[in-house]
């Protein structure tokens, strides 16, 4: 008997013994089973800035996990060795939710990140861990492409404190051609996440010739401002040739700087540049009086001048979770 997985917009019809597109959800005797529950293929303590999250507990460590698999197949995936791999071929460690929470405590991390591949496809593991972590007073962070159906997304958001969600382009054609996905569900997920009260930051990877035109960047920034608010932090990230996209050069610093200028002209208040050293593009400034609030170098916080989440000069409240 076939089963249908209704977790993400792919809505895979899965035959007996077969798996869905994400490779980790399998039809066994007419029952949908997750094969990666409690088995992360990566588990590490990262700086929270690496997610990237710049407005969430700056300077803190975050226990970060991923299982193998992904529901998208981006031709430029930076982590394709684990996102596009089969569980049968990928070593993983046993770490059920209880153990994960215990490890987080032992490592003195205030939060857990479900990241690297796609936390949606290991949904049950993410959900159970997040609920347990919340009960233990810890915070939960998702780093996701946001390609998920509405009902499971809303349920998961109840336990999510912060998320960095990719907006890979503002073009359905791009999503289909480069990522084998579609744009609308991602836009819906972004809006729902923001409306849930979780802190949301957006990442846009700029790929030369594919999504680096001024009009595209204008359109993307405008969409974020209109639908999520001007205070939503936006990270322009540098592309490196990887996986199936080896024919394009890395994004230049000039393109990233221009993108940042465009987004700020469109009215976004916090725009950053990532995957490259950039003096101004890594710091947080007050949108009211331009005072330097947080100075960063790579993933390190050099100074944090916020006072109770406000600018020390003009007292403007700065969007974020600061304690």
């Amino acid at each position: 008997m076939q089963v249908q997985c209704e977790l993400c917009p792919k809505n895979c019809l899965i035959g007996p013994g077969q798996s869905g597109e994400c490779r980790v959800r399998i039809n066994i005797d007419g029952v949908l089973r997750t094969v990666v529950y409690g088995y992360p293929c990566s588990i590490s303590v990262d700086p929270v800035e690496k997610k990237p999250l710049f407005h969430f507990l700056p300077g803190t460590p975050i226990l970060s996990i991923a299982t193998v698999g992904c529901n998208l197949h981006c031709r430029n995936c930076q982590n394709w060795e684990i996102s596009q791999a089969n569980p049968e071929d990928t070593p993983a460690a046993l770490c059920p939710p209880e153990r994960l929470v215990q490890l987080t405590r032992e490592q003195a991390c205030p939060s857990i990140a479900y990241t690297y591949t796609e936390p949606i496809i290991y949904y049950e593991y993410t959900y159970d861990s997040a609920r347990l972590a919340r009960e233990a007073g810890m915070r939960n962070v998702l780093v996701t492409a946001g390609y998920v159906n509405e009902q499971p997304w809303r349920q998961l958001l109840e336990y999510v404190d912060a998320a960095n969600i990719d907006l890979k382009a503002i073009s359905d054609e791009f999503y289909q051609r480069v990522c084998s996905a579609t744009l609308k569900p991602v836009q819906d997920a972004l809006v729902a996440a923001k409306a849930s009260g979780a802190l949301v930051e957006v990442t846009h990877l700029i790929i030369p010739t594919l999504n680096d035109q001024s009009e595209q960047l204008q359109q993307l920034s405008r969409w974020i401002k209109t639908n999520m608010g001007a205070e939503t932090p936006l990270h322009f990230s540098r592309f490196f040739p990887k996986y199936k996209m080896l024919n394009l050069p890395p994004t230049s610093l000039k393109t990233l700087d221009t993108a940042r200028e465009i987004a700020m002209e469109e009215g976004l208040q916090y725009v950053y540049i990532g995957n490259i050293r950039s003096k101004q593009g890594q710091n947080t400034y007050c949108p009211e009086c331009e005072r330097l609030l947080i100075e960063r170098s790579g993933y390190i916080v050099l100074q944090n001048n916020l006072k109770d989440g406000r600018c020390p000069d003009c007292s403007k409240e700065i969007y974020g979770v600061w304690k």
Binding site: D46, P91, A92
Partner: protein, 60 residues
């Protein structure tokens, strides 16, 4: 065969056909899941946790 016997035969055959069709439809319509059940064991190689205190090499 009496008229009553004939109608009984027809009704029985119709019922059998209906039950068969219902069984086929049930088989053909997939069961729908949002949440998946756990598999008792991981299908790939299981390794120890190792040193988790260093940043991962992966992006994100």
């Amino acid at each position: 065969m009496t008229r009553r016997g004939f109608f009984h035969g027809v009704a029985g055959a119709a019922l059998a056909i209906l039950l068969g069709a219902a069984w086929l439809v049930k088989k053909a319509v997939p069961r729908r899941f949002t949440r998946a059940h756990r598999l008792p064991a991981y299908p790939g190689p299981v390794r120890p946790l190792g040193n988790i205190s260093k940043p991962a090499k992966w992006s994100g």
